[in-house]
């Protein structure tokens, strides 16, 4: 009997604190900002703004002497959807443009180009790319080669003998197939990744502030004076933000599928399992930061440093993990976002592939357990 009433009192305290947190969330309009506006804003940015697919890259074409060959080459570049071509006749003035960053690459057709072809010598086309942005530089170089190969084919058909035809008979022809994403849309993997960023922000940023705020305002002492214990306190803080996070997750997934037409091929159950474990890890991290710093400025910076930036940079969302140096690759294994990004990309594009989801979920459970343990240990319900 006494046992039962004890349990009921415990439950009543949890519910009471949950209600207080919900009221606090509802009263402050900025909570809607993070749960409603932020997810849409981020999806919007990654849906429209951040794309790795080149389009209309400014390119300067230097034609030192106008010849029929140079003119057909110019036409080939103008027809390419990837370039926005500016034509000049001297290389000196385009070099300044490369420094200013107003063109990303320069293609030079030297004045002896036609003569060399006529004499049967090798006629080089020079390509200068802006190495301060290596990714674009590499893509520009590849696409210039594509335009050139195209021009060569046309030229060899038009004037047989002048330009040696590229031999295709008896050679290897490449047949590339992109699984899960046949149109090779970068949005299809960036948007699922950005859902992970949204969840990271919601999970850590708000919770990083809640305990710190109670310390700064002194209301924590009022809480300590109540019969409330550690478990009630932590559950009261975790439950409202868990609900908020899952709601934002729902909004994000529906928007990704309905507005940005990213396919979703996994099951709702798998999504719930993976995102719940990730969210619990993030909420524990946020509360842990809050408990340790007791200061909202320090807490917000710490949340930025330990949650947001790793989710952006160390998760494989934009930057390829395999390409990082070994020590940093090892650090990424500790980042919950790493597992969540690969799980989301798989759930959206491939389906319930348990060889990806299983290990990821286990890793997330392990990280959550460690963070929750640390959180419980650091939570003190009395003043020192």
């Amino acid at each position: 009997m006494a046992q039962e009433s004890k349990q009921r009192a415990w439950l009543r305290r949890v519910i009471g604190l949950v209600r207080k947190e919900i009221l606090q969330v509802r009263r402050d309009a900025s909570s809607y900002l993070i749960a409603g506006v932020m997810p849409l804003l981020l999806l919007f940015i990654y849906g429209y703004g951040v794309t790795l697919d080149l389009r209309r890259i400014p390119l300067a074409l230097v034609i030192e002497r106008s010849t029929p060959e140079a003119e057909t080459m110019l036409a080939s570049f103008r027809n390419s959807p990837y370039f926005d071509v500016v034509v000049t006749h001297h290389r000196a003035n385009v070099e300044d443009r490369l420094v200013a960053g107003t063109v990303k690459g320069v293609v030079v057709i030297a004045d002896d180009f036609a003569d060399r072809i006529a004499r049967g010598e090798t006629a080089p086309i020079q390509v200068i790319v802006d190495g301060s942005d290596p990714n674009t530089a590499g893509l520009v170089f590849n696409y210039v080669q594509g335009v050139w190969a195209n021009w060569l084919d046309i030229a060899s058909i038009e004037r047989r003998g002048t330009v040696a035809p590229r031999q295709t008979i008896g050679t290897v022809v490449i047949d590339p197939r992109y699984w899960f994403n046949p149109d090779v849309r970068s949005q299809n993997f960036l948007i699922p990744g950005s859902v992970a960023i949204i969840m990271t922000l919601i999970g850590t940023l708000l919770t990083a502030l809640v305990v710190a705020r109670e310390w700064e305002r002194g209301t924590i002492e009022a809480l300590m004076a109540t019969p409330m214990g550690r478990s009630e306190f932590l559950l009261g803080k975790l439950i409202p933000y868990y609900v908020l996070g899952m709601a934002a997750m729902g909004i994000s997934v529906v928007t990704a599928v309905q507005v940005f037409h990213v396919p979703y091929r996994g099951s709702v159950f798998a999504l719930l399992v993976v995102s719940s474990t990730f969210l619990i890890a993030m909420l524990s991290l946020g509360l842990l930061i809050s408990t340790i710093t007791r200061n909202q400025f320090a807490a917000s910076q710490a949340a930025l440093l330990t949650a947001f930036l790793p989710a952006f940079e160390l998760s494989g969302f934009i930057f390829e993990i395999d390409a990082m140096p070994r020590p940093i690759r090892l650090i990424t294994y500790l980042m919950p976002a790493r597992y969540f990004v690969s799980s989301l990309q798989t759930l959206f594009l491939a389906g319930d592939v348990w060889s990806v989801l299983g290990p990821a979920t286990l890793a997330l459970v392990a990280i959550s357990t460690v963070l929750l343990t640390l959180l419980v240990r650091n939570t003190r319900m009395r003043l020192e």
């Binding site: 301060s132 022809v173 197939r177 994403n181 910076q301 940093i328 990424t332």
Partner: protein
């Protein structure tokens, strides 16, 4: 008046510096982030796992496989023995690409027929997959030209000769370090200013400031200067780390760097003050700062080129100060950009700074009455 502002500045510094956690947060993280993220923020693709399925028993298939093995871009190659293993290798993300050589590969080449080579790529990472497919294309191109040489077919008489400027060895850190100098300065400058007024409002000390002889403008100056000093010191720190730890060359003029850094910080502080004058609590200030910061960083040209965006969004980025500052910092580090190029990017920031600072000052006065 100067005396009053000076006391407020001293008080602001003390408020930030007195708390050991805030102090640690101001000094430590930017350096730490610089060290980790400079190496991480690479869009290079190297050392990725690929798999090869060679069902051809002839020599051509074996020759092609050994060219893949010899390529410096692929260090880890799994060998599959059965077509049914392909799905598992890609689904589980063990292989980004599977190169599949059909059983008639050598026979077709010997008969002078075109032989097809299948590349199966993981579209979940389509950007990396495209780059890896490019490596494979280059290897096949080499293989083909060897075939043609054996057959004594004349090879095409023109060639594309490439040169990479500003970063000839394509070192990742040369690209990431200058961008991070810009990105990391932003977050600190913004949060320090956004929170300074909100904290006083939340704790109720703002009313004490209002009954003091300080006028609204004096309060604004007192709140701006510490953020400015901290921002300048941090940026200097990061530039020094970039040059002396990462060995990224700094070719441009230091004088131009500091002029543009100052203008940039004023534009960011203006946004911070603007958020600060609207926010009643620190939570509102932090979230307001994030709502500005996340799009500003994502659409700055750091994560992906601005030219790839739709036109209307490109116009919108004209109002983003981070965009100009990244061009300036990269230009000064790697390209020895001349003064006219720098000023072409400084004046838009100056316009943004004037707009944000004056509207913040107006709002501040307005809300104080």
């Amino acid at each position: 008046m100067w005396h009053r502002i000076r006391t407020l500045i001293i008080k602001e510094f003390l408020a930030l510096w007195r708390d050991p956690k805030s102090r640690a947060i101001i000094v430590g993280p930017p350096i730490f982030q610089m060290l980790i993220f400079s190496f991480a923020a690479t869009q290079e693709v190297k050392d990725v796992n690929i798999a090869v399925l060679n069902q051809d028993w002839g020599t051509s298939g074996r020759d092609l496989v050994s060219m893949f093995e010899g390529s410096p871009n692929f260090s880890k190659i799994d060998f599959l023995t059965d077509e049914r293993q392909i799905a598992g290798a890609i689904d589980s993300r063990r292989a980004l690409m599977v190169v599949s050589i059909q059983s008639d590969f050598s026979r077709r080449l010997a008969a002078r027929e075109p032989a097809s080579l299948q590349l199966l790529l993981d579209g979940r990472r389509s950007n990396a997959a495209q780059i890896v497919a490019g490596y494979a294309t280059a290897i096949v191109g080499q293989f083909n030209s060897q075939l043609l040489q054996q057959e004594r077919v004349p090879i095409s008489a023109t060639a594309v000769v490439g040169r990479i400027w500003f970063n000839p060895n394509q070192l990742t850190t040369w690209n990431t370090v200058p961008s991070l100098v810009a990105i990391l300065t932003t977050s600190m400058g913004l949060l320090v200013t956004a929170l300074s007024v909100a904290r006083e409002r939340e704790l109720g000390t703002f009313e004490q400031l209002m009954v003091s002889p300080l006028g609204p403008l004096e309060i604004i100056v007192g709140k701006t200067v510490p953020a400015f000093v901290i921002g300048m010191a941090q940026a200097t720190n990061m530039v020094l780390i970039g040059v002396f730890v990462f060995r990224v060359p700094f070719l441009g003029s230091v004088w131009l760097l500091y002029v543009s850094m100052a203008v940039y910080l004023f534009s960011i502080i203006g946004v911070g003050l603007f958020v600060s004058s609207l926010a009643k609590t620190q939570q509102q200030a932090i979230l307001g700062a994030f709502v500005f910061m996340v799009p500003a960083m994502s659409l700055s040209g750091f994560a992906s080129p601005i030219e790839n965006m739709p036109d209307w969004l490109q116009y919108l980025t004209l109002a983003n100060p981070v965009r100009y500052y990244i061009v300036i910092v990269k230009g000064l580090f790697l390209k020895n950009a001349p003064a006219d190029v720098i000023f072409a990017n400084v004046w838009p920031m100056a316009v943004i700074a004037v707009i944000t600072l004056s509207s913040a000052a107006w709002l501040f006065r307005h809300r104080m009455e």
